[in-house]
């Protein structure tokens, strides 16, 4: 187990190095100079050179990359003299637009996205998986048919459509719910939940549809397998057969997809954030691209990669825990 985790971590680290290199290369290929964008319209060549020096992008690319990597571990200082800005480790860059280290911006924005995803994931997993399992067990009943219908509708809808309908019905037209807002969980858990109810409902309903369909199919497949028949033949109660044997086997592919979904979402839920006016990592990333705020783009791309890589490792480990057929070594 330990060896497996160590090996996966090494592969993950290598992946991140490759992604950071590619991202760097891409920025190098950007036709317009970020310094020029930062400097404005009436900017002289001299001013641009000054900004470039402050950003450190006047250096050759390999040097820029090693500076970046060193910054991650020991921090770095941008600019000199009066313009010096300290960026403590782990330094993912310094945003001159915001005048703060990129890690600070991420620390402000990530909790918003994480809160959206956490609540949404709990909802969609609970709803989706239980709906799917129950449908499978009650296959062919009215409940099953209704569930299939609802989930088909949900799976074919888009966040921006369903979200706007919810907003219109629950906020604009009736005023039943306030417009979403973000309050830190540590500040006021109740307001945190109340402010995020709409995005949770939206993500929960749409994604649960997918998970319900998936778990129903998985469960049906598992129920027809030999080991389930064996379990039944051994005289186990239906409850034991379904929960201890069938569910465990059926849920592994769902864990894989959920892990990836959550990992991807943590990197930013731009559409959801936009619809509900929440300032999460997704919006930060898109804004950073619009303003060519390269240090922030770089950091958010890397962070998104970290989430996916980590989610993968977690999924692999969970596999071993859930499914006795899988052995890690």
């Amino acid at each position: 187990m330990l060896r497996f985790i160590v090996r996966r971590l090494l592969v993950a680290a290598a992946t991140l190095v490759v992604i950071s290199l590619v991202t760097f290369g891409l920025f190098f290929a950007v036709p317009s100079s970020p310094a020029k964008v930062m400097c404005g319209k009436s900017c002289t060549a001299e001013d641009i050179a000054q900004v470039e020096a402050r950003l450190g992008i006047d250096q050759p690319l390999p040097r820029q990359y090693t500076d970046f990597v060193r910054g991650v571990f020991v921090g770095r200082t941008y600019g000199e003299g009066d313009f010096a800005r300290r960026c403590p480790a782990p330094c993912l860059g310094y945003s001159f637009r915001n005048n703060q280290p990129v890690t600070e911006i991420i620390a402000q924005r990530l909790p918003v996205t994480a809160s959206i995803v956490a609540g949404g994931a709990v909802l969609w997993l609970l709803l989706g998986v239980s709906l799917g399992m129950v449908s499978a067990l009650w296959r062919g009943t009215v409940f099953d048919r209704a569930a299939i219908g609802v989930t088909l509708a949900g799976a074919s809808m888009q966040v921006y459509f369903f979200g706007l309908i919810l907003l219109y019905v629950l906020v604009y037209a009736t005023g039943l719910l306030p417009f979403p807002s973000y309050t830190p969980l540590t500040e006021n858990p109740l307001r945190w939940a109340a402010g995020l109810l709409l995005p949770w409902m939206t993500l929960g309903f749409l994604n649960s549809a997918l998970y319900a369909r998936l778990s129903r199919a998985q469960m049906l497949e598992t129920l027809s397998e030999d080991f389930v028949r064996t379990a039944r033949a051994k005289g186990l109660s239906p409850r034991q057969v379904h929960l201890r044997h069938a569910l465990r086997a059926a849920i592994t592919p769902i864990v894989t997809i959920a892990g990836l979904d959550i990992g991807t979402s943590l990197g930013g839920t731009f559409i959801t954030e936009s619809i509900f006016g929440l300032q999460g990592l997704g919006k930060a990333t898109v804004e950073a691209v619009q303003f060519l705020n390269l240090p922030l783009v770089m950091a958010t791309v890397l962070l998104a990669a970290v989430f996916i890589v980590v989610a993968n490792i977690v999924v692999d480990v969970l596999y071993a825990v859930i499914d006795p057929r899988v052995r890690l070594n």
Binding site: D47, A173, F291
Partner: protein, 582 residues
């Protein structure tokens, strides 16, 4: 005020300025109202009563509450040296005080009075070359220290720094005429003097500007934020944007870029020193990153949590129909801004005056306006300057019906069918507008060739003297509400250069230039009428453009915001005398 920033660099700054002019024209019909023309009675006032603090109390207004301002995007700059966009200037006005400012009460009367200064400036020798301002007694910063004339000089000094170059540079250019404003003096950093040549501070409360040439517009230029005081010890250079040191009624409480800006009271601001601001709300909260439709929907819905909210973002077309019913309509603030949009005729290429006149009879202004959203987006124009300009009066040289005068066009063209190249920005809105024009002009007897240009380089392309186009739409707004920041930049042929022109019709007539010189030397009070007369003379004799429409603002606020009106100086909801209904 946001002339160049809002129009000419619109394409470049489109992302940052969705709150400003670039989206203004996306409004669509609905909410139409009869065409209203108003006469702007603005002037510079030296009356003691106008210049005295405190600002007149607003009937029924109460102190307290927090105003929420919902915006699409964050401000580019709040640093007074870099502040050149209307929404930033109105917000800046809550934080710091320039030498002069605009006093408004919603009646259309716009008065320029002293803000930090006791009056709008003394023309010492009566030749507009030496201007002296005396600061009010008792104006304090947020830490309780007094505002001095040296801080005003230093504030102007730092606006010369290349790293803070985004603001307006009128005073800067006047101090160093001929060439780039900061070629000789680059601000107080890196060993520079704290103040530029030509500015002296004989004592703590006096600041004197000496210009090589007369500038009778100085009172207006001194209302731009670059004359706000910045104490050298509090100058954080490029970080000053995020926390300007307050000399106004509010100070920055917190600022999270692209997310929210919170202002709280500056306890050291004394209302008795301030003729412009009532500062009724206890605080302001600006939230950024919302969609314009979201903002409009929330303000239409007027939920309890949003009732003390407002926005400087125009209501988008999709929401307009819901703003006309009772309960919402009275919360709409609309009216003309300082922008006029014209169809520029490249006079270097279209030299036949009859064709230029024919174009004026031919253009269907209704169709041009409908293409971008109808009456909410603007109203048909017949003049070069906007109705918000001081001394404005409406005239119409051609008196053509709104959809054109076919007979007149035929008469002027006399059987010819001129072939003209119509250039337009390639964004959807401008393409639709150009298409409407093409249809209209083709129908009226012209051969029109469409030439789309990448939006971000549109003004660069048509600003090239030798551009190969005959017709192109463009908008311009004044930096202060007089003709001096409209007629000279747009119609003085001597200012034409190879690239980056503002004179997009490339009109170059010595009679016009001579008249510009004559008006510039008039006392400020007489200039307004002079610019208006020249406006009409240009349209009567030179016909360099077809005036198309006056840009309009269409903004919403919640039901608990009181004393709302459109600022004539900034073209958006005013902030100085607003209050929260308790």
């Amino acid at each position: 005020m946001r002339g160049r920033t809002r129009t000419l660099t619109c394409g470049v700054l489109a992302v940052a300025l969705v709150a400003g002019g670039c989206t203004r024209t996306t409004d669509s019909g609905g909410g139409g109202e009869e065409k209203k023309t108003k006469t702007q009675t603005g002037s510079i006032s030296y009356e003691a009563a106008d210049n005295r603090g405190p600002a007149a109390a607003v009937d029924g207004a109460t102190r307290g509450g927090t105003v929420t301002v919902m915006q699409v995007s964050d401000f580019e700059h709040l640093d007074p040296a870099r502040n050149y966009v209307n929404v930033q200037q109105v917000t800046g006005g809550l934080l710091y005080r320039a030498l002069n400012g605009y006093k408004e009460n919603g009646s259309g009367q716009l008065l320029l009075v002293g803000d930090l200064a006791t009056n709008p400036g003394k023309d010492v020798d009566g030749d507009c070359k030496v201007w002296e301002f005396t600061l009010r007694d008792g104006v304090k910063y947020e830490d309780g220290s007094p505002v001095t004339s040296r801080d005003v000089a230093y504030g102007i000094g730092r606006s010369f720094a290349p790293s803070l170059n985004e603001g307006p540079h009128y005073i800067q250019q006047w101090l160093y005429p001929g060439g780039v404003y900061n070629a000789a003096y680059k601000g107080p950093y890196d060993g520079g003097k704290p103040a530029p040549d030509g500015i002296t501070t004989p004592d703590d409360r006096t600041i004197r500007f000496t210009f090589p040439q007369p500038h009778c517009d100085m009172p207006y230029a001194a209302a731009l934020p670059t004359s706000a005081p910045v104490p050298a010890g509090k100058d954080t250079r490029d970080q000053y944007d995020l926390r300007p040191f307050s000399s106004g009624p509010y100070k920055v409480k917190s600022y999270q870029r692209d997310v929210a800006l919170e202002l709280e009271r500056n306890p050291n601001w004394d209302p008795k020193t301030d003729p412009l601001r009532t500062a009724y709300p206890d605080g302001w909260r600006f939230t950024f990153g919302l969609e314009s439709a979201q903002i409009a929907e929330r303000l239409v819905a007027d939920a309890p949590a949003d009732q003390a909210s407002m926005s400087w973002v125009d209501v988008p077309p999709a929401v307009l129909p819901r703003t006309t019913s009772g309960g919402v309509a009275e919360r709409v603030v609309k009216g003309p801004t300082q922008y006029t949009w014209v169809l520029n005729i490249n006079t270097q290429r279209v030299t036949d005056l009859n064709i230029r006149k024919a174009l004026n009879y031919a253009v269907d202004k209704d169709a041009v306006l409908k293409a971008i959203g109808g009456q909410a987006a603007g109203s048909p124009a017949t003049t070069l300057m906007s109705p918000t300009t001081a001394g404005f009066h409406q005239y119409d040289v051609f008196n053509a019906p709104i959809s054109g005068d076919r007979a007149k066009v035929a008469e002027l063209l006399a059987g010819k069918r001129p072939k003209l190249v119509l250039a337009h920005s390639n964004i959807e809105l401008r393409t639709q507008q150009a298409e409407a024009l093409r249809k209209n002009l083709t129908d009226m007897g012209f051969d029109i060739v469409m030439k789309p240009i990448e939006n971000s380089s549109y003004y660069d392309e048509i600003g090239r003297k030798n551009n190969p186009y005959d017709l192109y739409i463009g908008g311009w707004g004044s930096d202060w509400p007089t003709g001096s920041t409209i007629i000279p930049p747009l119609y003085d042929g001597r200012e034409i250069v190879a690239e980056g022109n503002n004179n997009l019709s490339y009109l170059n007539e010595s009679a016009v230039s001579a008249e510009i010189d004559r008006i510039r030397k008039l006392p400020a009070a007489e200039q307004d009428a002079g610019w208006m007369a020249l406006d009409e003379k240009i349209m009567r004799e030179s016909v360099p453009v077809v005036p198309c429409y006056y840009d309009a603002a269409y903004e919403l606020h919640g039901s608990k915001i009181g004393n709302t009106f459109l600022s004539d100086a900034y073209g958006i909801l005013q902030a100085n005398t607003i209050y929260v209904k308790q």
